[in-house]
Symmetry: D2
Subunit: 151 residues, 4 copies
């Protein structure tokens, strides 16, 4: 991982296999579908630290809503690829999180960066879609996904 992701620590990663459904007639993964891969990994990262988005919605009337995405398409993924999607929280504010994510593939024994994204996710009230602060108990758990830059 060191070439691509050196110095950064990504506390969570998730494997994604590329199927026909993900590709397009250009022979590569369709550009919108990387956003699906990113969301799967964010969802699994949240599940890993104990959140089901469905439960947050039903119990706390809280929704996670993507408010912006910046994605860089470095190299294309193709059918049958085994990708790894990395997740870390780069910033935790009162009513939103900034995720940094990367999609990496092993090529000739070397981790190669295919795609990188910054995704801002807001916490909003279920019905009004108004910004809302995370409950303290929630924020505490988010901290385990924060990149450790302490060295």
């Amino acid at each position: 991982m060191s070439d691509v992701l050196s110095k950064d620590s990504y506390p969570f990663s998730w494997p994604v296999r590329v199927y026909y459904e993900d590709t397009d007639t250009g022979g590569v993964v369709y550009y919108a579908n990387y956003l699906k891969f990113y969301e799967r990994a964010r969802t699994e990262a949240l599940r890993h630290i104990g959140f089901q988005q469905e439960a947050l919605k039903n119990e706390d009337n809280l929704l996670f809503v993507v408010s912006s995405v910046q994605a860089d398409y470095k190299r294309p993924a193709v059918l049958d690829d085994e990708l790894t999607v990395f997740v870390r929280i780069a910033k935790m504010a009162r009513t939103y999180l900034v995720f940094e994510q990367k999609i990496v593939k092993e090529i000739d024994g070397k981790e190669t960066l295919l795609n990188a994204a910054t995704v801002k996710v807001a916490c909003v009230q279920g019905d009004s879609y108004r910004p809302k602060a995370w409950p303290d108990a929630v924020s505490e758990r988010f901290e385990t996904l924060i990149a450790d830059n302490s060295q």
Copy 2:
């Protein structure tokens, strides 16, 4: 239309353009995506006779739920194709409809059948998902989508 669809009358049709999102690395439209084209045409057929599914749900607590699909893949559609999706109601029962649908493309001035499907759609109550009879006012309007086989 006569070659492909002779004798049958399809009271409604809807144009669909094929974009990158619809294709796969095999160079053709991905097999699940024809079901999207079929649903767009059914939705527009219902809108054409005065239904918004959203309104049926909110006002009458009725949902249209697909209960079975049979699809035959005759010839593939490709990027940039201009397709026509045909819709007719082949059977109207108390709690379900059977749609017959076809996807056709003009090749060398001749309508060519690419895909054909039979889709059974049930009427269910919003929460329980139990079968429910259509209101009379609804059934009457469905009749305009029934194929005219009277000749």
Copy 3:
């Protein structure tokens, strides 16, 4: 598994998690997306017995093409569901295979059938899309996916 799938033997199964991308505003998995789940499982079944579809295409100029799908929607899957997709070859002909597949979810400790499908997959030549017999070496391996009904 016995309740749902008794007597039948499904030589292969594949887990699928339901994410936001799979659902629709009706609160359930969008009907076309079950076909994605079915294909992931078929692809993994083929990989399990030693095939990469990409390799078959490049080395033998052979394509697997879906020629028909029959799907029954019994009960809906929802966000966060952990599904199991079963695969078996019900019929192996000279130029096509018939897959039987099921999607099952554990509810209250009991395997519950959500969806069942029969998918006919033809073997065609890469460029002409003409039917072609599988090579013997290929058919032999398919046999390990045939349901064992011998008892």
Copy 4:
């Protein structure tokens, strides 16, 4: 249009209807699917000025490849919405284009901005994926999609 898009001129727009396939269980359009809407509009803008991407690929061995996307999610689109997707070329460089795009919906007779994106599209050679300058004939036509800021 003036409220939202004042001063800017968007030389091209394309209507998009929201169907079930576009939505998710949150009741809104799934965040990756806005990228599909953006691409449909870019494709139609290119078609409008005389390009088929398929022809560029086959005749000139040129591919348009998205190299970055920045999207801002202002307000969600929902089922049955009639959206308008705007397109303009904000920058035309030797080997890439920068598109600015917006998705707008009429609410109470007023155009309301739902989503805005900046999409950088590179011109690459078909096989090598190396950057390549657009042919002069191509660039000239792109100019009709450049925003007119001359007033």
